[in-house]
Every structure is written in C-alpha cells, then in structure tokens.
C-alpha cells in the first residue's frame, strides 16, 4: 500500500481565485491521478500525472483550468484556476502501485467556492 497526504484538507475560496492542492506519497510511484467527487457522488477522473511527461486530461477537463505539476516520483500538485461555485467539490489524488495494479487514495481536499 501507500500513505498519501493532501494539503489543504479543506478551503473556502472566492470566485475568480486559484487554489493549488498538494499530494505527497511516502514511496516512489510512476502514476498519480487526480479525481473530483461531489459529496455523495462517484469519482470523475480529471487527469493522469506521470513524472517526466505532460499530464493527460480526460474529456471535459483542460490544462488551463486544471494545471498539474509532477516534479518527482513522490509529489504532485493540482491547481484549480479562476474558480467558480461549480468547482466546489472534493478533489482526491491517488497513486498506482505497480505490483497488483492497485490504486490508493489520499484523504481529499474539500473545496468550497463562494
């Protein structure tokens, strides 16, 4: 397994501003993922972040709105840019372990945009 931390755990932001969410894992991993989850709903994949390459975004998500950095094998950031109330959600990072293709999730960042 992997131990994953996220910062901040929650934040309340004003519309038009940006927030950067950090994801730290306790071991080196090749693949990291960023998801969005509305409370009580399922998860939607935003993008896949591989170290040393550009992030791969899912349909409906663009780099200008959700820029991602992956500077090394244990860390990634997701920025939610020019926020609107529709961006209010829980943002989760996850990592893929290579042996059994298992994904482990961070505790999430609860974002409220006012």
């Amino acid at each position: 397994s992997a131990v994953i931390s996220q910062k901040p755990s929650r934040d309340i932001c004003q519309r038009g501003t940006s927030l950067t969410i950090q994801c730290q894992v306790d071991s080196q991993v090749t693949m990291m993922f960023w998801y969005r989850q509305q409370p009580g709903q399922s998860l939607t994949l935003i993008a896949t972040a591989n170290q040393g390459s550009e992030a791969t975004y899912e349909s409906g998500f663009v780099i200008d709105k959700f820029p991602i950095s992956r500077p090394n094998l244990t860390f990634s950031t997701l920025t939610v840019s020019n926020m609107s109330p529709e961006d209010s959600s829980i943002y989760l990072c996850s990592v893929l372990t290579g042996v059994f293709y298992e994904q482990y999730f961070g505790p999430g960042t609860r974002l409220t945009v006012t």
């Binding site: 993922f33 996850s94 893929l96 059994f100 999730f105 505790p107």
Partner: protein
Amino acid sequence: AQTVTQSQPEMSVQEAETVTLSCTYDTSENNYYLFWYKQPPSRQMILVIRQEAYKQQNATENRFSVNFQKAAKSFSLKISDSQLGDTAMYFCAFMIGANSKLTFGKGITLSVRP
C-alpha cells in the same frame, strides 16, 4: 467504452448479518481488474478487495468476498458478519490491463443497523 453499473443506490443490513452488493460491468477487453472501494462518511477511500479477470477463483479478504461471474460480467461483494464500521459508501471499479484508469460505478450507500 467501459461502463460500471451499480443499480442499488442504498441498502441496509442488521449488524452480524450478511449483505451482498451488486455490480455489473461492460467491456470487450479480456485482461482487466475489478475492485471494490469503501468510503466511510467524510473519510478516506479504502481499497477493500481486488479481482483479476484471468483468475477463476473468487477473491476473499477476511469478512469480504466477491462473486465474480466473468461470462455474466458480474462482480458482487459479500460482507459477512456486518459491523457498524462497515457503514459507508461502496464503489465498484474497473481497470483495463496497464491502462491504469479506474472507471467507477455510482456507488451504493450501505447502512449497518445496530
């Protein structure tokens, strides 16, 4: 496209009883992995159990077991001796080979009654 269907939005079970959560999926691929994740209220997503499609034997993890019917594309989770701590949202998820992207079902809210 791959889809995961959890048709039951909610279930309830008495403590110490057994409950089965249903999941069906659709894919034309032959090499894939299936997962059940648990998300307790306001808490972190936890991997419960994993099943490789090429394995005929159903996976078991303590009180959790699956009934994997490949031909029927069915992957149900059985929780034996239900405990209050099993109260959570449960997500069925699917991943194709090395693709590594998880496709989630809508989830089911399980309540364990004392």
